[in-house]
Symmetry: C2
Subunit: 382 residues, 2 copies
């Protein structure tokens, strides 16, 4: 079967690569960029690392720092108004997945009529969106190289997806120095999100030779680096490996799809506002168990990518060894194994079931689940 | 150190993906494409596979089928005249590296003043080149995703390089069915070229975390597939693995550089008109030996990518095991080990030395060679 693969436009990486920003702004024809970020980042020295580079080169800019975790429709539409009123001409997304996703949506709304709800699903925008330079400050979402954005509908408690090839950032800047003050819990949650992207995109029914290779490369970078990085966030080499792993996983899943873990984690995330990586971790090893029969041939390859030997093992044994390794890994990261231990009283709501059932991740998952199985899976993370 | 990485624009792959051509022509705004190919392909049914798809959709097109192996300046400038006089608006490169490289040069000359010699080295073209859809019919050069082209100066017996980000094809189509009538010697030569790209880009001093992962992925696809593919060119799965491996190696080396093998193989190729892959094979294991000290830490990783165990081996032993494996591989492919056995009387010419000494590959090679060492290396392939 034929498939299409879209590469990232341009990646600038390495220690201090943030200093390339003025050049990138100019080469994209920008004269007055708007920085989109969150309050947390605005209040730390992190934002100054970006603005001081712009100041030095006398590039005027604005700051929209109101992006919230799991950003909603209202904040994105507010961002659009700020962008239009300030007559900006370029977006600099600076932060985690929330800031980058918000920038993507703002970039499309800024040049097109209507609001977020007019553009759900797979979209071709009439007018070209504003160009984006994306600078991740976490190693997790891979949003800097994907062509989708998640918008949380706070009223309906739903995560909405907008997919458009036009949303792909023009430049991604992977500067490991920006990660050196990340809290260790944030490293764990964003890192397990990246690992989940790598694993799910590898198993995805929409994956192909190209995306599978990228998924495995991502696993090879993330798995040995995440725990040491959590223990030593100032280590530039580890931060760089995590950023590259997260980025490779992003290229893989935006082209090759995800799986049931993402289908299940989104409703949990939008109902209880738990970090997306935590929600993924709750389901990861369980879905690996469920997929065993449907995708048995892939477990040994993945096991080798973790750096473990699969020789002499039956496919079954290889799969079990992989699942054990992933379970142990999540435990060593200190990620809770259910919602109860973090004080969330969880009951499966009908909306959660609907949300999971219509997720594209579910369609790309090797094993097919019916409604009752989805309910069981959602219930299991209590 | 910061680095820049440019992704491929769009890859369409899989059995029958050539049927996507009309869509791609339209989406790139093409109304009358010029197909650039060689006489060999024009005389086989291969070209009809492309033209019949265009005919069906009533897309008018022209054919320039005069590309020679190691295409020279004259043929590229002739291609430019054909393009301009026929008032074409898009290029379809259909063939091996020669046809794709020729298309790249034609694409730039068509919209800019001057001839090939006005644009050597790293170039920013004043006017945007014509868009290219690249369709490789061999799995070797990776030219469908690189931003460089090799032009042979037949008078001076030199391989000239033009590098421009603007030359990157807009779409690469990897259809494995196009490879099913490749002669086995061609499979061996183009395949070892792809493997050399993967290995040299992995060792390159200009490589980075991203390109190294792509290089290793390329090795993982090419090494186990090349010999079986040579024995069974109608196997679609193997053809697909070779095309993807060659493509990944192309993305890796165009962003991360090559090494001494390429520096040495170009003068041999331009003097004796031997296939580029053969020229690479003559030097590959030898340069791996030379680089041992300067890049010892990398051999074990590469060995694992070949599917061999490096556990329990010292770095030295791992390097030796890798070199032996590569030597045995070239032998099993039936590639001659020197020029004498194929009837070429080789004497090192001063021009060859100059050519190798100023090659960018030499600068990116882990070990530094002086002039005398280069002479020795060139002499060794007699």
């Amino acid at each position: 079967m034929a498939y299409e693969f879209l590469g990232p436009r341009k990646i600038i990486a390495g220690e201090g690569s943030i200093t390339s920003i003025p050049n990138e702004v100019k080469s994209l024809g920008g004269k007055k960029p708007l920085i989109v970020t969150d309050t947390g980042i605005a209040n730390t020295g992190l934002l100054r690392q970006l603005t001081s580079v712009l100041d030095e080169q006398k590039i005027p800019y604005g700051i929209f720092s109101e992006v919230e975790p799991d950003p909603g429709i209202a904040i994105m539409e507010k961002g659009k108004r700020v962008f239009r009123e300030g007559q900006y001409d370029l977006l600099i997304a600076f932060g985690g997945g929330s800031s980058i996703d918000a920038s993507k949506v703002i970039s499309c709304l800024a040049t097109n009529e209507g609001g977020v709800k007019d553009y759900l699903g797979i979209v071709v925008f009439k007018n070209n969106p504003i160009s984006i330079i994306a600078i991740p400050t976490t190693a997790g979402t891979g949003s800097e190289v994907t062509h989708n954005a998640i918008v949380t509908d706070k009223d309906q408690k739903l995560k909405l997806i907008i997919r458009s090839l036009q949303m792909l950032p023009k430049t991604a800047i992977l500067d490991p120095t920006l990660l050196n003050s990340l809290p260790s819990q944030m490293i764990a949650y964003t890192g397990i999100d990246a690992l989940t992207h790598a694993i799910e995109s590898f198993f995805s029914l929409r994956s192909n030779l190209m995306t599978q290779q990228l998924s495995l490369s991502a696993v090879r970078l993330i798995y040995p680096s995440l725990i040491p990085f959590k223990e030593n966030p100032k280590n530039i080499d580890l931060a760089s490996k995590m950023l590259h792993g997260s980025c490779l996983a992003g290229i893989a899943f935006t082209n090759g799809g995800l799986g049931a873990v993402h289908a299940l984690s989104h409703p949990i995330g939008s109902h209880y506002h738990v970090p997306h990586g935590l929600a993924c971790a709750l389901f990861l090893s369980q879905i690996l168990k469920e997929n065993k029969e449907a995708a048995l041939g892939k477990y040994g390859v993945l096991l080798e990518a973790l750096g473990m030997n699969s020789q002499g093992l039956s496919p079954e044994q290889g799969a079990d060894k992989l699942i054990e390794a992933v379970e142990a890994f999540i435990k060593r990261l200190g990620i809770p194994s259910n919602l109860n231990t973090i004080g969330i009283k969880h009951e499966v709501q009908p909306m959660m079931i609907e949300d999971a059932m219509k997720s594209p991740g579910l369609m790309a998952n090797p094993k097919k689940f019916d409604r009752n199985q989805i309910i069981e899976l959602l219930r299991s993370v209590r």
